[in-house]
């Protein structure tokens, strides 16, 4: 079915110079923050396709934000631009001096969107937050997002504060991506069961090239971790190391990557490995040599189950999981059945 291998049209809009192309380059083209100085102004619309999680292709329309372009989008190009939109990402520059005018443009765009694709998701990023003094950030962001909401018509808008210089950019985009993945509920159900089986404190699924958090499961103990932005920080750390590895092995950041990473410390053990073609799995388990090895083994087996099922169905689906109604019946489920069976076999060595 074509509906499952959907292309999703994502519009990236906002005032000229607000940072749309910069953040796109960082998230999808493996730029580091200081590289974006090289980017010039976007002329008209730049299209790019981003393959994400196997069956999801983002069709990204980066729309140049100069006034002349904005007018054509709203007038002659109106039908072309605003039809079939799955997501609108609108970027506000926090430093802008003409807030009212920005909001007017935004409102005009929202009207055009509700005319052609009333079911689209709308995300607003309040960008360049690093330029605001830390103590005022929350207040200014709250004010601004209230104003944005009041001008958003019938759409339910999610707003994020972001900056390319810290992990907030990853947080915002992870939030956006999270909304777009089709079979997320199934994935999460699997991960929850899996995390419980291997006694993991936390299981995170990262997208391969962007290192954005796709989804995560945290146990009751893991919830007590005082660091709330750890997922975004992890994205940042791993991406920085990927750049270092690329530099020193003479390849491009896009083709560099990790095969596997094991870390054992007295307080926690971490495993990072390829899970599906497009994802890394990141496990945090309490210390204990035997149970750690067991968790790693189970992860490998669950992965085998996944790939076997993918070959069987031939759908090329990133997550060929059994349908929800058979998932609990573990004789049937591929990934599920393996996780269960071996979990009992190798688990609890004491």
């Amino acid at each position: 079915m074509d509906a499952r291998k959907k292309k999703r049209k994502v519009l990236l809009m906002g005032k000229s110079g607000s940072g749309k192309s910069s953040m796109r380059s960082i998230i999808f083209s493996n730029y580091v923050a200081k590289d974006v100085r090289r980017l010039g102004a976007t002329i008209d619309v730049e299209h790019s396709h981003v393959k994400f999680m196997g069956n999801l292709t983002l069709n990204l329309w980066d729309c140049g934000g100069q006034d002349a372009f904005m007018e054509t989008y709203l007038a002659s190009q109106r039908g072309n631009i605003f039809s079939d939109v799955a997501v609108l990402i609108y970027v506000f520059d926090i430093e802008s001096r003409e807030v009212e005018r920005d909001l007017d443009t935004y409102h005009a765009i929202i009207e055009a969107l509700s005319e052609f694709s009333p079911n689209a998701y709308v995300f607003c990023l309040v960008h360049k937050m690093d330029l605001i003094q830390a103590e005022h950030r929350q207040r200014i962001y709250d004010e601004r997002s209230a104003v944005i909401r009041s001008r958003s018509g019938d759409f339910r808008v999610d707003t994020f504060a972001s900056s390319i210089w810290d992990q907030s950019l990853y947080k915002a985009w992870a939030g956006i991506v999270h909304k777009l993945i089709p079979n997320l509920i199934v994935i999460e159900r699997f991960l929850t069961a899996f995390a419980k089986k291997i006694n993991a404190e936390e299981v995170i699924l990262f997208e391969r090239s962007t290192f954005l958090t796709v989804t995560s499961v945290t146990s009751e103990v893991g919830e007590l971790n005082p660091i709330y932005d750890r997922h975004e920080r992890l994205s940042n750390i791993m991406k920085a190391f990927k750049h270092c590895a690329a530099r020193n092995t003479l390849t491009t950041p896009a083709s560099a990557g990790f095969v596997v990473m094991h870390t054992k410390t007295p307080q926690f053990n971490i495993f990072l490995g390829r899970f599906t073609d497009n994802t890394y799995i990141f496990l945090v388990v309490p210390p204990g040599e035997a149970s750690y090895n067991c968790a790693v083994l189970n992860t490998m087996l669950a992965r085998e189950g996944f790939s076997k099922a993918a070959a069987g169905s031939g759908g090329g689906d990133g997550f060929p999981l059994p349908p929800p109604e058979t998932a609990d019946d573990h004789a049937n489920g591929y990934g599920y059945g393996y996780g269960n069976g071996y979990g009992h076999g190798y688990g609890n060595p004491t």
Binding site: V221, L224, A245, V260, G288, A290
Partner: protein, 304 residues
Amino acid sequence: MPPNETLFLESTTRIQKDSIHSFMDFQVWDFPGQLEYFESAFDLEDIFGSLGALVWVIDAQDDYLDSVARLNRTILTVQQFYPGINIEVFIHKVDGLSDEYRTDTFQDIVQRISDELSDAGYENAPVHYYLTSIYDYSVFEAFSKVIQKLIPNLSTLENLINTLANNCGFEKTYLFDVLSKIYIASDTRPVDMACYEMCSDYIDVIVDISELYSWDHPVRKRLGDQIQEAESHVVLHDQTMIHLMEMNKYLCLVSVIRNPEAKDKRGLIDMNCRTFQDALNEVFSRSWEEGSTAQEGESAAVSK
């Protein structure tokens, strides 16, 4: 501190003494460039008496003749009274110079200093030169070399690492001080900047991740026994493996392995590293018994 933030550092106005407590205790004295310490107001014995190494920083992008002249005066005095002090010259800020110009500057400075020294009759003065910049890893490399000269049992450590690296097929092995990311010993194969960069960045990764997950809470309980020291390795896309093992509170051993078979022999590698760890701790405990690592002083004289 990232390099681009050093812009906001103010100029040093008095002698700053920083103590570094690590596998061996250092004291770094940061001298203001404009200070004339040969005046009678300063006690030479107090400054140079317990000194291990003198680091002199020359701005390669500026007119350095003045600085070189002062350095010469300093070297002559130091050589006269304290011949045991290593003199390390950092030719700094070379990132702004083209390759050719960089070599010219380097040779010019070396020439001027060695001429002066031989005129004064010092043939084999312990003066060493380094090209450094804060925008790459060269300054870490240079400081590593400076510190290494002060370690009493460096050759023992190097021998141990060589044995380990040869037997395990490591491409390059470093013994790092985790806090400063200075390496205190490495195997004696040629220096490879790429390896150093990856190793040092990998330490960052592990330290950063540890920060995220090392929280203390009574409900966190372990699932079984495990070795006390941290151990980690990563396999990159081209089958290169970076292996990291904590040696003691301050040191960790980081190796780059390019042999694709290493993946399957991790148990053996781990065991060899543990043996190395035992040997290392023995070396250090013995030197402490003798009390030979009394506090080593070191000073950095920053010239404009």
